[in-house]
């Protein structure tokens, strides 16, 4: 399909270029019915075509330039922690003390990022565990059980949920969830649990709508064959549809995780922002995003503290690339499985 498009666009280009040059030789002789020389019109047409192609191509190139410069700038600043300030990457990734204003026993600043890395992964995984049954249930409902209600009520509801700003989720978490956790777990109520619950609600629409797409892409013949064998609806869903849609469902979950991993403000508002390795789900913790949000404005550019913050941003960036890579690997694997 893509190749066909390419060829046809190429042909059109060649054609109009030829017309341009042919009639270009006969400018004086032929005059169009409108009074305008036919050749000028043709020329303008092929010029317009070229201009259109260049302008839209320029827009696309600009987007690529933005992405490349974004990755370059963040990597440049994030890596200077290790190459300019001489901090050992092992100390950064495995150190459990985050206090960049002070130096440790080895005379280097205490820049252990492990508490934030653990915090980020904990909220991401926990929110995923919470969201999977809900997203899967909702997707099954919308595709298999009641498509009418699914498209009339559930989908608009999910769209609305996507539109609610993340700070509003953070605010609700702060006013409702944190006091609720405090009431039964004691302590402050801030922590991984509150953060994961807020994130679960936030990624629910993303995961659900992707899961709906995955279930819808299962061919109807699969279901019909299963029903023809006498299977109940649930047996069909469980043994046939879910298994056939597995790659798509995994993609949905991974993209949900990517969103949870990168969410900043809602998490920052409810997690307590204590850069220590969390001892339980209900004690204050921190994530990469929450520390970045809190500290970036306070530290001057070029200081070690600031560089280390950029390293945290780089970790976030690399993780989001990893999530994309996983999605691509899932896609490739399912394609090769289908081919077998």
């Amino acid at each position: 399909m893509q190749t066909a498009k390419f060829q046809s666009s190429n042909d059109a280009g060649v054609l109009s270029a030829n017309q341009g040059s042919v009639s270009g030789n006969a400018v004086a002789s032929s005059t169009g019915p409108s009074g305008l020389p036919e050749a000028t019109k043709q020329l303008a047409k092929s010029q317009l075509e070229r201009v259109g192609k260049y302008i839209t191509g320029f827009c696309a190139a600009l987007v690529v330039l933005v992405v490349v410069s974004l990755i370059f700038l963040v990597a440049q600043h994030g890596l200077s922690t290790f190459f300019v300030d001489g901090i050992n990457p092992i100390a950064f990734f495995t150190g459990d003390t985050w206090n960049p204003h002070n130096t440790g026993a080895d005379g280097m600043p205490l820049v252990g990022a492990l508490p934030m890395i653990v915090g980020s992964f904990s909220v991401t995984l926990l929110s995923c565990v919470i969201v999977i049954p809900f997203a899967l249930g909702a997707a099954i409902f919308a595709v298999e059980i009641n498509p009418t209600l699914g498209s009339k009520i559930l989908r608009p509801a999910l769209e609305l949920l996507t539109g609610i700003p993340s700070v509003v989720f953070g605010l609700i978490g702060l006013m409702v969830l944190v006091p609720w956790v405090r009431s039964w777990a004691g302590g402050t109520g801030y922590g991984i649990l509150a953060g994961s619950l807020v994130l679960a609600v936030m990624v629910l629409p993303t995961v659900t709508s992707l899961a709906i797409d995955a279930l819808e892409s299962v061919p109807a013949t699969y279901r019909q064959s299963s029903y023809a064998l006498g299977a109940t609806r649930w047996q069909t869903i469980w043994h046939i549809v879910l298994r056939a849609a597995l790659p798509g469902l995994l993609t949905a979950i991974v993209l949900g995780m990517a969103r949870a991993f990168g969410e900043a403000l809602a998490v920052q508002m409810v997690i307590g922002n204590a850069a220590i390795i969390p001892s339980s789900l209900t004690t204050p913790a921190a994530t990469l995003t929450s520390i970045l949000t809190m500290s970036m404005g306070n530290e001057a550019m070029g200081t070690v503290y600031n560089d280390v913050l950029w390293s945290l941003a780089l970790v976030l960036l690399v993780m989001s690339l990893v999530f994309i890579l996983i999605v691509h690997l899932i896609g490739r694997k399912s394609v090769s499985n289908n081919a077998q």
């Binding site: 827009c59 249930g137 700003p165 869903i237 950029w310």
Partner: protein, 304 residues
């Protein structure tokens, strides 16, 4: 063994019923949750949200009774500037991808770049804008920096929706245009774009709703302060001129985050509830507008 078989059939039927009930309960819970979130925010904040003095007065840092006048204006102004920059750019990129792009490594590179951009955390986008526009360009915390940050944030979503809208135009319409002797560009402008317009408009408004509520990309680009605005001031270099794009501009979403993380405003809860209600009302309005316009345009197009 027929009895065993019928037992199994009964068991399968029971499982089927149980599963249906459980799934329906899950869906009911999700709908209730959404309703609860919206009702909670509206119920707590509606008193403030319909109070004209709250909507127009300046915020207070240490006193009670602060308003959100500048924040409300900033949110809309930033949104408009962001859309002015990001819509043409996304439209161009989407037309290129949908109509021109050859199937080669360059095109798949562009697609990958857009995919990367769409999965980047918005805080990283904000920090990039902070580095490039606020510091290296020396623009400081400003509407210009914020609008560009939001543009970067908005582009992947907008490109994808516009591209899908263009690609969903039936191939025979494209072929017909080309067969009439139109160039690819003319076909795109006169045939494809008008047909795809309802979906493009819907996508644009939905993305506007997302931009309107975004905060993480803005705290280090448009800044966290809202200078008092004077609508009679047209001196574009003055910090109190509303239209000056070089002044810092805190938005509604950033305001909620900032007052809650600082925690010094005495009537913190009332102000953040009111702001959240205003934010939700705007987002709901965007959502309804997108549906309405999408349907309206679609009808107009098919009726003609």
């Amino acid at each position: 063994m027929p009895s065993n078989l019928s037992e199994r059939a009964i068991k399968a039927k029971r499982q089927d019923k149980t599963a249906t009930v459980i799934i329906s309960v899950i869906v009911g819970f999700i709908i209730l949750l959404l309703a609860a979130i919206i009702i909670y925010i509206l119920a707590k904040g509606i008193g403030k949200a319909v109070d004209p003095s709250f909507l127009t007065s300046n915020p207070q840092q240490f006193k009670e009774g602060g308003g959100i006048g500048p924040e409300l204006f900033n949110s809309f102004y930033l949104l408009v500037i962001t859309l002015i920059i990001s819509f043409p750019l996304s439209l161009g990129a989407a037309i290129f991808l949908a109509e021109y792009a050859p199937a080669n490594a360059v095109t798949s590179g562009i697609k990958t770049a857009i995919e990367v951009l769409s999965s980047l955390p918005s805080i990283v986008v904000g920090l990039f804008a902070f580095l490039l526009f606020v510091i290296q360009m020396g623009w400081g915390f400003s509407i210009a920096s914020g609008a560009l940050a939001l543009t970067v944030f908005n582009i992947p979503l907008l490109v994808r929706t516009i591209q899908q809208a263009l690609e969903s135009v039936p191939a025979h319409q494209r072929d017909a245009g080309l067969a009439m002797g139109l160039t690819r560009w003319e076909t795109t402008i006169h045939i494809i774009l008008p047909t795809a317009m309802p979906a493009i408009v819907t996508g644009l408004i939905l993305s506007a709703g997302r931009v309107f509520g975004e905060a993480a990309a803005l705290i280090y680009s448009a800044g966290q302060s809202a200078p008092a605005l004077d609508f009679t001031n047209f001196d574009l270099s003055s910090a109190s001129c509303p239209w000056n794009i070089w002044r810092p501009a805190e938005t509604l979403a950033v305001h909620i985050w900032k007052i809650n993380s600082e925690g010094v405003v005495p009537d913190l809860e009332a102000v953040s509830d009111g702001t959240a209600a205003v934010l939700i009302i705007c987002v709901l309005a965007f959502n309804l507008l997108a549906r309405f316009l999408g349907k309206r345009l679609g009808k107009k197009l098919t009726a003609e």
